[in-house]
């Protein structure tokens, strides 16, 4: 009989709280899916760099999963609290019938255990199947061929899911037992009848709090726009604190203000059931504004993370077109111990080591980079090519002290012709500037337009053109040339000009692939040989166009995976909490909506009111979150300094994800509540 009761209760709860179980199910499913990446990749034949990438991803996933499990844990404990509240009366009946508290505790424990087992099992089954589909995506992500389909089962993910969710359910059981042991019978039986007091704040208090919240938010937005995302300044922390406070105050005052605002328009207030809906909303926001605020912040995180996360992956490859003008670039930095700082030909050195560049390169060109010493520790900085009053405009403090790279006009034109671009011509005492770092470009341009001159070693140069040239010296992953000075060749013979590095840019022959060339390099300069000092590379590192593209896509893929994981969990958690709140309120509302029906309100009128009430709860946090996100995305994109970063497309994708998941929860809540109201009505007959 006891077990029969347990089973009946569980099936009944499952029917009443479909949303809770679906959320648990999806939580488990997502958790397993994203943790099974190790198994998904282990079956793939990966190149070395891809293997590294997958290891990074797996390791990051480990950390994130701890965080995710905490979030899900909170969600489950919170949702369970709702379930228990709803069942207070039922527990009271058990106690009246003489069931001892210990037995009720066992009953609840068994129920929770059963619910946990069912959702865990169902979630894992779903997760195992979903991860098969995901492995195809993963394979494409790591550019591995899925030659044959193999069923993948990740033992570690399975164990991890069991462990984490086991702990979560254990905590839930503890909570439940504790709450059972502390209750009083009278309060259980009277649970349905509660005299809730509604603190209606005075209008001016609401207005004041609202204005305060708007001020907080405005200040937070301003701070974060000005200071950016660097957590080193106190402004960033302050903006987060202010933003949270502003959000809390916003929801605290909003319902009151909304109520008063609509009340002042009597026509609107007394139309249909608007009065009822607003009062409903207002009566609960006083107790739920904290959770609504948290939900708003979670949505904010989800929206900005998804928009930026997905957007970055697109932008990286868009930027790469411009930052990788060459098929390969080798760079060598002169060291302090390099005795003779004379120009060395990298091509010649490669040839000496048995690599004939002509066999691989259609064309190649070497650029020698110099710095200008000024007798002090720091060399001449890029600030000498900027107006003095622009120092405050620099993206980072004291960036103007960053050493200025100098190259000769002939090197510059070799670089340009290698890309098939027209050459630059300079007069005897003229200079030009290369830069493609977005934030510095306007600063150089202003200096050039004003005809700012550059003096060094007794020589003065004037600008040959009034704009900079958006050029890179070598293949890079981002637009990071912070400024290169182009000078007539003779200028570099001045004393104090010091050679810094050599760059060799290569355009492959048509029949040579990137892999082929790199293989030759690796073959000659093997790790073992270098360890034995048998050979030394004439370069410190190389970037190749293909390599940069692959690395970018890999990083972007990791980013997308992680943001998708965290974003989805947050989104589901936020939507589930809202949905559960509304559903548990629906039982209170049954009385009220039933009364409306008895007073003669039509079904459409009542349903409309219910829809409006739930829509208010779902929409308001979303709206504020969208505003937060707009600011957040703006700051993040300007911070990332990716010219090709277009968040429009990724925001669109995010909007669709939100619409589908959040919308589904909204509709489920609406129809669930509608059914609950209808059921009670029929039952009453």
């Amino acid at each position: 009989m006891f077990f029969k009761l347990v089973f009946k209760n569980v099936t009944k709860s499952m029917r009443d709280y479909t949303i809770y179980f679906l959320t648990l199910l999806f939580g488990v499913c997502l958790f397993y899916m994203f943790n099974s990446i190790d198994a998904q990749t282990s079956l793939l034949k990966l190149s070395e760099d891809r293997r590294d990438l997958s290891q990074t991803l797996i390791r990051t996933m480990d950390y994130i999963s701890v965080f995710i499990s905490v979030v899900l844990g909170f969600l489950v404990v919170y949702a369970n609290g709702f379930l228990m509240k709803r069942r207070k009366h039922e527990l009271g009946v058990y106690m009246v019938l003489g069931m001892p508290k210990s037995k009720i505790s066992i009953l609840i424990t068994l129920e929770t255990f059963l619910i946990g087992m069912v959702s865990l099992a169902a979630g894992l089954v779903l997760g195992v199947f979903a991860s098969q589909g995901m492995s195809v995506v993963t394979a494409r992500l790591f550019e591995a061929d899925m030659t044959s389909f193999r069923f993948i089962f990740s033992q570690s993910a399975f164990r991890k899911t069991l462990l984490y969710f086991g702990i979560i359910f254990l905590v839930v059981i503890l909570f439940n037992v504790l709450s059972v042991s502390r209750v009083k019978l009278i309060s259980l039986l009277n649970a349905g009848r509660k005299n809730q007091k509604f603190h209606i704040r005075r209008l001016w208090v609401s207005v004041l709090v609202f204005l305060l919240s708007v001020a907080c938010l405005a200040a937070a937005y301003r701070m974060v726009i000005k200071s950016g995302l660097s957590s080193s300044t106190p402004w960033f922390t302050a903006s987060i604190v202010l933003g949270c406070a502003g959000t809390l105050l916003f929801f605290l005052s909003l319902s009151g203000l909304l109520l008063r605002a609509v009340q002042s328009n009597r026509k609107l207030y007394f139309r249909n059931l608007n009065m009822f809906v607003l009062r409903q909303f207002h009566s609960k926001i006083n107790t739920t504004f904290v959770s609504v605020s948290v939900i708003c912040l979670m949505l904010f995180f989800t929206i900005s993370a998804l928009s930026v996360g997905i957007g970055v992956s697109g932008s990286l490859s868009a930027d790469l077109k411009e930052t990788t003008p060459f098929d390969a670039s080798l760079e060598y930095f002169y060291h302090a111990y390099d005795a003779d700082k004379q120009i060395r030909s990298l091509a010649q050195q490669l040839k000496n080591d048995g690599i004939d560049l002509d066999r691989y390169a259609e064309r190649c060109g070497q650029v020698t980079c110099y710095v200008l010493t000024n007798g002090k520790e720091n060399n001449i900085g890029i600030g000498s090519l900027m107006c003095k009053d622009d120092a405050g405009q620099l993206p980072e403090e004291q960036m103007d002290a960053m050493p200025l790279t100098v190259i000769s006009l002939s090197d510059c034109n070799r670089l340009l012709s290698l890309q098939g671009k027209p050459p630059v011509s300079l007069g005897k005492s003229q200079y030009a500037v290369f830069c493609n770092y977005q934030k510095l470009m306007p600063l150089y341009n202003r200096f050039l337009r004003r005809g700012g001159s550059f003096s060094y070693g007794g020589k003065t140069l004037v600008p040959a053109r009034d704009t900079i040239l958006e050029e890179a010296l070598l293949d890079m992953s981002t637009k990071s040339n912070s400024g290169t000075l182009i000078v007539p060749d003779s200028f570099l013979r001045l004393p104090g000009v010091e050679i810094e590095s050599e760059i060799l840019n290569i355009q492959y022959r048509q029949d040579v692939s990137d892999a082929e060339f790199l293989q030759v390099l690796d073959h000659v300069y093997t790790k073992e040989a270098r360890a034995r000092h048998a050979v030394s590379r004439p370069y410190d590192y190389y970037n190749t166009k293909v390599g940069l593209y692959r690395r970018a896509s890999g990083n972007a893929a990791i980013g997308s995976y992680l943001t998708l994981y965290v974003g989805l969990v947050f989104l589901i958690a936020a939507a589930a909490v809202l949905a559960l709140q509304q559903l548990s309120e629906a039982s209170d509302n049954t009385e009220r909506y039933g009364l409306l029906r008895r007073l003669g309100a039509e079904d459409t009128m009542v349903n409309h009111a219910l829809f409006l009430q739930i829509a208010l709860y779902f929409l308001l946090p979303l709206l504020l979150a969208v505003v937060h996100s707009a600011v957040g995305i703006h700051v993040a994109t300007s911070e990332l300094n990716l010219s090709g970063l277009d968040v429009r497309q990724s925001s669109f994708i995010t909007a669709i994800i939100i619409l589908v998941v959040y919308g589904a929860y909204f509709l489920a809540t609406y129809f669930g509540s509608k059914n609950m109201i209808r059921q009670k009505e029929i039952y009453r007959r």
């Binding site: 809730q196 007394f270 059931l273 009822f276 009062r279 409306l596 008895r598 003669g600």
Partner: protein, 255 residues
């Protein structure tokens, strides 16, 4: 005067073929406009079932109910709610005020449901409130006012839409004697001054003594009917007690 409510051979059965409970068994009666009618009977006599059928919350098994010559047993569900909100006013035992709304808004709610223009609402709410002497508590919430005041707000809500018939289900059931008296006096005023037609279900003789006419139900049938006529309330009260004694007695004692 024309009867505004006419009940003809109304029956309401519960249960399936095996065991049928005749909650209301062939009842016929009429209520004229401006009447204050009481329906009395012990628990299980069919009072509430009768009221539910009259208020269209429940459907009859057989028979007809005419309200202003319209047979409400033939209405479709869409018409039912329209009928309910236009023609009927309800007063419940447990007030059934919305705790989230002020007294004023609770009264106005009934008007918004029948889509009264906003400009009219204020006038009508204040008028009714004045009549029921609750003008000074209109801005209070239900939890801030006494039971008697709550029930008078509920009365105001029932009357404000100017319904053809007010159905009151044990309106004094949750009130103390003083509040009960005040409420019943209010109902009397509504009946006399605003010519409201009231049908009140109660099992309490004192409450019933405020009515002009009383129908006694027993086991789903009308057992007796008494009219107050020129009697004082006290005399009428004694007569009610007499009938109740009869009702409570055995069948053999009935005339």
């Amino acid at each position: 005067m024309e009867p505004i409510l006419k009940v003809e051979h109304m029956e309401k059965y519960y249960g399936s073929r095996g065991s049928v409970t005749k909650a209301v068994d062939d009842i016929s009666f009429e209520v004229r406009a401006g009447e204050f009618v009481g329906i009395m009977g012990a628990s299980g006599s069919g009072k509430t079932t009768l009221l539910n059928c009259l208020s269209t919350i429940d459907a009859v098994t057989a028979g007809h109910i005419y309200l202003e010559e319209r047979d409400i047993t033939c209405l479709k569900s869409g018409q039912l709610s329209a009928f309910r909100r236009r023609k009927l006013g309800f007063i419940f035992q447990d007030f059934n005020l919305l705790d989230t709304l002020t007294a004023y808004e609770n009264i106005a709610l009934a008007l918004t449901i029948v889509r009264t223009p906003a400009s009219e609402i204020d006038v009508r709410v204040r008028q009714v409130a004045k009549e029921l002497e609750i003008g000074d508590i209109l801005e209070k919430y239900p939890y801030e006012i006494s039971g008697g005041q709550k029930q008078r707000v509920a009365c105001a809500r029932a009357i404000v839409t100017k319904p053809t018939l007010i159905l009151a289900d044990e309106p004094t059931g949750a009130l103390d004697s003083k509040s009960s008296r005040m409420l019943l006096e209010s109902l009397e005023t509504l009946n006399k001054n605003l010519l409201a037609t009231i049908l009140m279900v109660t099992h309490d003789a004192f409450t019933a003594s405020y009515c002009r006419r009383i129908l006694f139900l027993r086991d789903g049938k009308i057992f007796n009917e008494i009219v107050r006529g020129d009697n004082t309330r006290k005399q009428f009260f004694s007569r009610i007690i007499e009938v109740q004694t009869l009702l409570g007695g055995d069948n053999s004692n009935v005339l």
